[in-house]
Subunit: 373 residues, 2 copies
């Protein structure tokens, strides 16, 4: 079996990394560019023209020497790349509209082939809930599932600890070589040694607030289901749960008394339709129907989001007029504009490359409003 | 507006009470007899023949003097009768296949016309859960709902206490003049004075174990929905909840931590589809779609369960051969026998009057097995 790196060729590997490390190119745009131009090299060459049509300057592209330095660093760290669309890339994650173009992983890659369950919750969880999460993770591991979490304080840490013996996947918000929170240094090392550590950002990147929702989508995207233990109504754990729901995965929550404020988020999820779980059997019963085979209609190449080869100026105007600072679903733009979906996608692609469009969860887009404009 | 007693006439009132106080005549049989013979008087006259066809001796029938003594006692107690099929009888309760033929009530009957919510739970509930139930009941009362419960220890008592100011209905397992548990004497009196007290059994009857499931079906049957607060997996509260589900009413439960054994029953209900509720707003939102008007297709006369005027001996044999000590649904008997439903109902009626048939929840029936037979 060939390695992913061999599969897509060294030059294309560099080109893909350049594309994904370039300005204004998020995962959705990356996927659309590859679908339209067939290779990252061709996409890089076309970007200046596309951005000009979007009415902006060309985005700053990452250079070959830049990504070659990154690749060297990844190798030094004992980590490696998994490219979207190449073997080894997790199948469930590949189904996301915003699947990460590339993952940096360190540890036991084979864990990605097993049934994954995300286990997330509050950083400031009660001692009882942390103990519960540890026991639940251990039981899930013993039953053959791989526990995925975010290496945060509280529930995440307890989940990794419980599943360390059977295999656990830690997804971090910063670079693969950056420890956060600091007290998790030993734990993060243990996950890389005995489990698998995953980062989307390049090495050296310190995690910032905006990175955590990206991290959460990977946790939910890798997993057949997400279990939330003790979470506040507005918390990162609930974002992970909502991602799981958006991706058609099972959402599960551990209930608590209405008198316990830390149970509010979980109880809210259950009211919204999440499955109430009390133990590993409940979790396994909930995710059993969701087998790899039935879900994994793996992305075939990059044809999932077609873009037209070109758009008329009038079409471009129509789409722009429909856009504003409030995120709207792309489907709605297609309906309201009366244009072919591929044309709308092309206009959005141009606008994003020109730095004028922002993409949001749930396939929504908005214009970036500049002060005074 | 005429009173129920006037409506059905004094003689028929006595006859109906005789019928319902007679041996081997449960609510389902009572309803079928009235449907078939048009009046309780005619049904009483026909019973010896029916029982003979069922292969047994005629059941001991209550006499007119017996029920007249009961009626006197009910009047002395300041209580009164509500007859199934007559005005004043609660509409939602009348829809039950096993609707009580007659209720004895004391207090403010008008409460039966408002939207009722059952609030039930463990007798040995935690102090926190009792406080929660009291506050929930008070909030439901303030929002205009009538809280129905069973005047048991624990959650039931807390629910009545919380709703006493706005109107509460207490359904008791024994006679209207019997206090159980003893420490609830003052509370039972308060419910009769400020709310409404309901009994199915005649005055003087001490509550026995078998009476409590009957009481529970009335609690669920009166109510648009049932809320369970802290209950063990095998408890009377869960029977009430299952009755509510069987009657097509809303089932709601207050969740708790999996680490709290007293939350197991509620969490189980939620897993089975009950709505998780945390406060009065959640409860009101859940029962709002279920308006009196939409549900109350009140029983028209007694035509709901037709029985044929007669059954052939061969048909009788067919049905009996399909019966055994394990409860089976009547629908299944109809399907397996290939006989018209009315014929099957007639045979079952005869067998019940002969003391050979037992009726169970969910429209199931079984043969009563005698030792050595």
């Amino acid at each position: 079996m060939r390695t992913p790196a061999e599969q897509i060729g060294a030059a294309e590997q560099v080109a893909r990394l350049r594309l994904t490390r370039s300005e204004n190119i998020g995962p959705v745009t990356y996927i659309q560019l590859l679908a339209r131009f067939g290779s990252a090299d061709a996409a890089l060459a076309a970007i200046p023209d596309l951005a000009a049509r979007g009415g902006g300057r060309a985005p700053r592209l990452a250079t070959a020497p830049q990504v070659e330095r990154e690749m060297e660093r990844v190798a030094q760290l004992g980590a490696e790349y998994l490219f979207l669309g190449a073997p080894g890339y997790p199948l469930l994650l590949a189904q996301l509209e915003s699947a990460p173009p590339v993952l940096i992983v360190k540890g036991h890659k084979h864990l990605l082939e097993r049934q994954c369950v995300a286990l997330v919750g509050a950083r400031n969880a009660s001692a009882a809930a942390c103990r519960f999460a540890r026991i639940l993770a251990q039981a899930l591991g013993e039953a053959g599932a791989v526990v995925v979490s975010g290496l945060a304080r509280g529930i995440d840490s307890a989940a990794h600890d419980g599943a360390l013996g059977s295999g656990t996947i830690g997804v971090i918000a910063g670079g693969i070589d950056v420890v956060y929170p600091p007290e998790n240094e030993e734990r993060q090392g243990a996950v890389a040694s005995h489990g698998l550590l995953i980062a989307e950002q390049p090495p050296g990147v310190e995690p910032r607030a905006r990175h955590f929702p990206y991290r959460n989508r990977i946790i939910a995207g890798l997993s057949h289901g997400t279990v939330v233990v003790e979470a506040a109504p507005k918390s990162g754990s609930l974002i992970t749960a909502r991602c799981a729901a958006e991706y058609g995965r099972e959402v599960m929550a551990v209930p608590g008394s209405p008198l316990d404020p830390r149970a509010q988020g979980c109880n809210l999820l259950i009211r919204e339709g999440a499955t109430l779980v009390q133990n590993a059997e409940d979790v396994l019963e909930a995710i059993r129907p969701l087998h790899l085979g039935s879900v994994a209609q793996a992305r075939e190449g990059f044809g999932a989001s077609p873009t037209a080869s070109d758009a008329e100026e009038a079409d471009r105007r129509t789409v722009i007029d429909l856009l504003g600072p409030v995120p709207v679903p792309v489907d709605e733009l297609v309906r309201l504009s009366g244009l072919p979906p591929a044309t709308v996608q092309t206009v959005l692609l141009e606008l994003e490359l020109a730095g004028k469009l922002e993409r949001h969860a749930g396939g929504k887009v908005s214009l970036i409003s500049f002060p005074g404009s």
